[in-house]
Amino acid sequence: MKIPTLLSLFAACFVAGSANIEENVGQFFSSGHTNNWAVLVCTSRFWFNYRHVANTLSVYRSVKRLGIPDSHIVLMLADDMACNHRNPKPATVFSHKNMELNVYGDDVEVDYRGYEVTVENFLRVLTGRLPPSTPRSKRLLSDDRSNILIYLTGHGGNGFLKFQDSEEISNVELADAFEQMWQKRRYNELLFIIDTCQGASMYERFYSPNLMALASSQVGEDSLSHQPDLAIGVHLMDRYTFYLLEFLEDIHPASKANMNDLFKVCPKSQCVSTPGHRTDLFLRDPGSVLITDFFGSVRKVEITTETISLTDPIKQVEEIAVHGEQEKETYSYVDQLPVSEIIHQKPKQKDWHPPDGFILGLWTLILLVFFKSYGAKHLKHIF
């Protein structure tokens, strides 16, 4: 007698469990992205800009560690540090003094090196307008479910960023490039981090949805470097990226740290400059955005022995509004071909309107002339 009870209990559990998994499937697909990309750009060259290359390579290392593979990272560096004649430790780039960490290593894959790091190439990578002969490793093959991390570092000013001592990219160009990406549905969400002097000016002009931006200093402030190394003779890192990395060291693929923690990185006491961020264009609340949504490539894995049929469309779990805020209205895609603006059609008027003034005046004139010439007695013929 017990066995059927047990069996029925088991069956009940199974049913309950499977029902549970069916419910949880919705939660499984809750975040909007399915793949992660990173575009890491160092815009300086020459030996005395060692720290910019070290910045970029350190972020590259973290991003790889958290799961984004090389095929999904576009790394643009001048790459003239490791083999520079002045490098006392050839084939290395250190990010910490006392040479604790060699971020160059032996498996770094630089996609755009030397003089290929130009404004044009950067914008082409972002917008995808590359010649057909470009190899896959140099392309940003993102789709509308990609979360992209973009990291820029170098020398900047109010509204511009200097590329390799010969050209500049302005904040307007960057904002337009992101708008192109949005229109071509090349990203789901985008995190933009910039570590330059007056970095906040670069995200002032953004106007596309789903962009979140962080900068190391406000307009009018300089971002400072962190520490010189006496043996190598140059500054190894910038402050903001140094503390950013200290923060990222504690992140592992399963961590639940969110963007609000990232905004707190490097306060003014440590950074001397005031880091800034911008979240007004971002759809979700930053508190619910995980760091690994951008920095890592987290594959959600749930192990089950059940078979789940996915015939019904998956209902996305509605997010619980935090702090009782209203849900933001969903953005829709911009109308690609606004016909009504192109062909200036007048709307059909449904109500009766009196005739135009001109017609009225014309008829009045005709009538006056008629009666003047022919006299009023003919009026009766008309009415």
């Binding site: 020459f46 005395f48 004649h85 006496l230 190598i232 003779g233």
Partner: protein, 587 residues
């Protein structure tokens, strides 16, 4: 309409100009001198800063490990030098080779135009020894030069020892991006000149040298070591150039930055860098003819600084980081102290105010020449205004310049004749001939007038003075641009004289003042003043001997190194002064 085209206004302006000419000139002069004095103070001086990005980061070597060995090498060098009686070439070659450098030698010889009494040499023959440390990974396109002159006697042995020690230390490092050339030159400046000419394949001064076998890239910077003793208490920076050229200010900034980091006392041209020594610093920065041309490298677009420095490895390291020639910072500046500098935009107005006096005078003369003369009292106007005779103006010009040319050529050409007839040595003969020709020029006006057929018209001296004033303005302007100190000192003494000399002044007094303000006397006073500044005041006889030696050095520097001070004074400033002398004695 315009200020100058409206005749009434123009006349009013011109009246103003002629009436107030003398007061305005006086005010300008005082303003110019006051501006110059004020250059040492706050609004004009700026703190020095590094302009070159590549030299921004610092690499500090904590300790030079081979200090003791460097001293020992220095002593060995001294011993070999004594044994060889000059430069121990073989020992140097062997030592450099053992340190892993590519070693080459260069022979040179030169006969001076007359024996140099200060350094006691006449026919100079020597050998330069240099070793090249090739950059381990870089192409051989750029080079840095470290030199230590090999002086006779016991001077500077430690410097050579230090040089060799550094060569060994540098050989073990892998981060050199440029070739480093370690040069030991004999007969300091002549050897250096020979080496540089050989390196750059030019021959401007007539030194005979053997071609260089080995070469590095183009020279970006050079440092010269001179150590006076084993124990270093302070570092001195000497920034002098040939013909007033200065190295890029970044080089001085580099030196200063390291001094601050290391915490050693630093001086510039022997003066400590305190803000109190401002006025003195100003005067000391003008050394027109003296203080020989140490930085020949400036002629070849690379920069040299002479330091008595022990731990300047860091400077070399920073220079290693250079990507291009030093070009970011100033080339025209004055340094009242090591931490402050005055740029050309601030110090030029001082000279400009003095030049304005000359231009005002010229305008005044032009106006006087243009207006007809006032009718004489008895009503007989001088209707015939004969145009100024070209001959009467041209003659003084030609004769003055001929005298200048004589002053330039004769002392050296005729020293042999002079030695035959007078019991003096060659260098004395040269100098005394120069002074004699200079004084003979004073007698010229009488002879000039004998040449002229008629009497000069009253107007002619005005034309001559106009030409002379403009000539002087251009001359002093160009000199001040290249060598501000020289230009300014000459302007200080010559401009007041030029402005106020007319034939109508009291002759004796004016003649006396003119002689006092002539270039030669200016030089004499400067000699005494300079000695005063150095805090070694001299008696009159010593001062006079010093004055004579300065003249002979000037002539020698011109023929040996191409210094332009002597030709400038002899061929241009002196004739200009003679013109004014002629005007004073116009009949």
């Amino acid at each position: 309409m315009g200020l100058l085209s409206d005749p009434n206004r123009r006349r009013a302006l011109i009246n103003l100009l002629t009436r107030l000419n003398a007061p305005i000139c006086a005010v300008c002069y005082i303003a110019g001198v006051a501006w110059f004095m004020g250059l040492a103070f706050e609004p004009f001086t700026l703190r020095t800063y590094m302009s070159e990005n590549a030299m921004g980061s610092t690499m500090v070597e904590e300790r030079f490990p081979a200090g003791e060995r460097a001293l020992a090498t220095g002593r060995e060098f001294a011993a070999h030098k004594k044994r060889a009686g000059g430069m121990p070439v073989d020992w140097l070659v062997k030592t450099m080779q053992s340190r892993g450098l590519e070693v080459f030698t260069q022979k040179f010889s030169r006969t001076l135009p007359f024996p140099d009494e200060n350094k006691e040499r006449y026919m100079v023959k020597g050998t330069n020894v240099y070793g090249i440390l090739r950059a381990p990974r870089a192409p051989r396109t750029e080079a840095l030069v470290l030199t230590a002159p090999c002086s006779p006697g016991d001077d500077n042995n430690q410097a050579v020892g230090l040089l060799l020690g550094l060569a060994q230390y540098f050989r073990n490092q892998i981060y050199w991006a440029k070739d480093i050339i370690f040069l030991v030159n004999e007969h300091d400046l002549i050897g250096m000149q020979a080496w540089l000419e050989g390196y750059h394949h030019t021959n401007t001064t007539g030194i005979d040298w053997s071609p260089l076998q080995g070469r590095g890239g183009s020279i970006q910077a050079a440092l010269s070591l001179e150590l006076s003793s084993d124990i270093i208490t302070s570092l001195d920076l000497v920034l002098e150039g040939l013909n007033g050229q200065l190295p890029n200010l970044d080089l001085a900034n580099l030196f200063y930055a390291f001094c601050q980091k290391i915490g050693v006392t630093c001086t510039i041209q022997g003066k400590p860098c305190c803000p109190d020594h401002d006025a003195d610093g100003n005067e000391a920065s003008q050394r027109p003819t003296m203080g020989g041309p140490r930085a020949f490298f400036t002629c070849h677009h690379c920069w040299q600084v002479r330091t008595n420095d022990f731990s300047f490895i860091n400077q070399i390291l920073k220079l290693n980081n250079l990507l291009e020639r030093l070009h970011q910072s100033y080339f025209f500046y004055l340094m009242p102290s090591l931490s402050h500098f005055v740029s050309i935009g601030y110090y030029m107005p001082a000279f400009g105010l003095l030049a304005v006096i000359l231009l005002l005078r010229a305008l005044d003369l032009w106006v006087q020449l243009a207006t007809p003369p006032v009718r004489t009292e008895d009503g007989i106007a001088d209707l015939e205004q004969s145009s100024p005779e070209v001959l009467s103006v041209l003659t003084p010009l030609v004769i003055s310049h001929l005298t200048g040319a004589a002053l330039y050529f004769f002392p050296i050409q005729f020293q042999a004749t002079a030695v035959e007839h007078f019991p003096v040595s060659e260098s004395e003969a040269v100098v005394l001939t120069a002074i004699a020709i200079y004084t003979a020029g004073l007698a010229l006006p009488h002879n000039t007038h004998r040449l002229l057929s008629g009497e000069g018209v009253e107007q002619d001296w005005r034309v001559l003075k106009l030409i002379a004033v403009l000539y002087m303005a251009v001359l002093l302007g160009c000199t001040a641009l290249i060598n501000f100190s020289l230009g300014f000192i000459l302007a200080l003494t010559l401009v007041p004289m030029a402005a106020f000399i007319t034939p109508h002044r009291p002759k004796v007094l004016s003649a006396f003042i003119m002689v006092i303000l002539s270039p030669a006397c200016t030089l004499l006073f400067l000699v005494f003043f300079f000695q005063d500044l150095q805090e070694i005041p001299v008696s009159f006889e010593d001062g006079w001997m010093l004055f004579l030696s300065v003249i002979s050095q000037g002539i020698l520097d011109h023929s040996l190194y191409g210094s332009l001070v002597y030709p400038l004074i002899a061929l241009m400033v002196y004739p200009c002064w003679l013109l004014f002398w002629n005007i004073l004695f116009w009949k």
